[in-house]
């Protein structure tokens, strides 16, 4: 039976056009739903756009957060097949520059084996042959299949494919309210920031993919979701000083990764929590810390000029006050019917851009289950359109 005949009856409104919203829109459209994506700014103008551009191999989580690590490596392998245009598949190194790092290596490798991340040990001279700008103190390294992607173009690829399947994408349309009738979200009140018009969009179901702003949306339905806006500072240096992603071979900490993207090297990142994620004042000491910690792995980064300095909030699942680095980086789909007794409303929170497709799959599975539909997810095998098609469809 062709279930999409049934899904066509339902109009799903997706709030947010970052990587999560874009991937959800693609998955929904592919499974036959009528989809409208609402984004208050430009595509990827929030968390996704300003992210680190790291296509995770999972290495960063393989010791302490193996659930996330497994998600990462699985999605990494899928994304490189369905979206080659927005990726640079250069690989990554976890580099040890002191004895403590070397001591961590064994647990790192065990973590890789436990989570299925392919890896290769490199001795110091081999690592420095491949990456001449690595510190002279380098003691050894482990290669993993990290990559680099273009965050905005990744979103546009998802959205182009969604548009191809009939979705409507409306940037600069801000959600101002949710209409709830009989404990069910039935419509979305919006304000078009271009025309200034206010209108109401009927929705059979609303998916809240607003990232760190998810709480603002859930407030409108009188429910709540445990998302903490956790910014991090990143410094993009002028010039590309590594070909592979360079990570510190140790427990994740501040300033322990350098991502080469195009002609820049992006050092990241730090972590603190904020109440309002709209405009983030960057703490000077965090910026300084990026130079200090980044140059421990690659001393040249202390000598070159920064090109861009930016910060953006990650949407971590948790509560303010918890130690942010201890919070798992996995994602969670909240069905507000189960949680709060509000029907027709789902929030997808947490996660990473690398796992956006999986987040979408999980979310749309929940959507289908709520509507009593059984439509299999096909995003794993569906080649995405070029990001350019976003503008031409």
């Amino acid at each position: 039976m062709n279930m999409s005949e049934h899904s066509q009856k339902y109009h799903v409104v997706v709030i947010g056009a970052g990587s999560t919203g874009a991937a959800v829109a693609h998955d929904l459209a592919l499974r036959g739903f009528k989809v409208t994506v609402l984004e208050r700014g430009e595509i990827a103008s929030g968390t996704t756009g300003r992210n680190h551009c790291l296509l995770h191999s999972g290495g960063r989580y393989c010791v302490k957060d193996q659930e996330s690590a497994v998600e990462c490596i699985e999605e990494n392998m899928i994304l490189r097949k369905i979206m080659p245009e927005a990726m640079e598949l250069n690989g990554g190194l976890f580099v040890a520059v002191n004895d403590e790092d070397m001591a961590y290596k064994q647990s790192f490798i065990e973590g890789c084996e436990a989570t299925g991340i392919p890896y290769k040990e490199l001795n110091a001279s081999e690592a420095r042959r491949r990456e001449p700008y690595l510190s002279e103190k380098t003691l050894g390294a482990v290669w993993v299949p990290d990559g680099v992607f273009e965050p905005m173009r990744m979103c546009m690829s998802f959205l182009a494919s969604a548009k191809q399947n009939g979705a409507m994408v409306r940037p600069y349309v801000e959600v101002t309210g949710l209409q709830v009738e009989d404990q069910r979200v039935v419509a979305v009140e919006v304000w078009d920031r271009i025309s200034g018009e206010e209108s109401v969009i009927h929705a059979d179901l609303v998916v809240n993919a607003a990232g760190p702003w998810a709480g603002m949306i859930t407030d409108m339905a009188g429910v709540d979701v445990p998302v903490v806006a956790t910014p991090g500072v990143m410094v993009s240096m002028t010039g590309r000083y590594c070909q592979l992603v360079v990570n510190r071979l140790n427990v994740s900490s501040d300033g322990d990764i350098v991502v080469p993207q195009r002609e820049t090297s992006i050092i990241g990142t730090s972590s603190w929590t904020v109440e309002d994620a709209d405009y983030i004042e960057m703490p000077e000491d965090h910026i300084q810390m990026m130079y200090d910690r980044g140059s421990e792995m690659m001393p040249i980064l202390r000598e070159v000029e920064p090109r861009g300095i930016f910060a953006v909030a990650r949407p971590l699942i948790g509560r303010i006050g918890e130690d942010e680095r201890e919070i798992a980086r996995t994602f969670k789909c909240f069905d507000h019917a189960d949680r709060d007794g509000v029907e027709g409303f789902v929030t997808i929170a947490g996660g990473k851009t690398t796992t956006a497709r999986a987040m979408a799959e999980g979310t749309v599975d929940v959507v289908c289950a709520k509507l009593d539909l059984e439509i299999p997810c096909a995003t794993k095998e569906t080649q995405l359109l070029s990001y350019r098609a976003y503008y031409t469809i």
Binding site: R170, Y390, Y391
Partner: protein
């Protein structure tokens, strides 16, 4: 309530009719706070248009030659007056700038000295200036 269908307009911004950009012919003549290349473009355009106007004025004036000796030589007396000679120097400047800048465009445009186009432009203008000084003085000396 029905889903609002995708309104016509911009594909990336449904429902919006973008304002078409104005044609800015004035941009041709505003090289200020632009790079050297735009100066060369503007100079070429200004001198080019000036020379076309001059060409037709000149052809018109030459009809005096058809009329006969007297009318030509009367005109010549005017043409040799200092203000008109200054105009001659302006004409010479236009010819030299347009000619040598044009040579640069021809060279660069056919793939020669592409990397040195900036230096080429400066060199050509220096050459034009030298010839202008020589030619301009000669106009008055003769």
């Amino acid at each position: 309530m029905a889903v609002s269908n995708a309104p016509e307009g911009s594909r990336a911004y449904p429902g919006q009719q973008p304002r078409e950009p104005q044609k800015r012919v004035l941009r041709w003549f505003q090289p200020f706070n632009r790079s050297l290349g735009t100066w060369s473009f503007t100079l070429n355009r200004v001198t080019g248009i000036g020379l076309v106007v001059y060409l037709y004025l000149h052809l018109g004036v030459l009809s005096l030659l058809l009329v006969g000796e007297e009318s030509w030589d009367t005109f010549l007396a005017v043409a040799k007056s200092p203000p008109v000679l200054v105009m001659d120097v302006v004409l010479l400047a236009g010819l030299l700038i347009h000619g040598f800048n044009g040579l640069r465009v021809a060279l660069v445009g056919s793939g020669f000295m592409v990397k040195q186009q900036r230096q080429l432009f400066i060199g050509m203008m220096v050459l034009a200036l030298i010839l202008l000084v020589i030619g301009g003085t000669a106009v008055f000396l003769k």
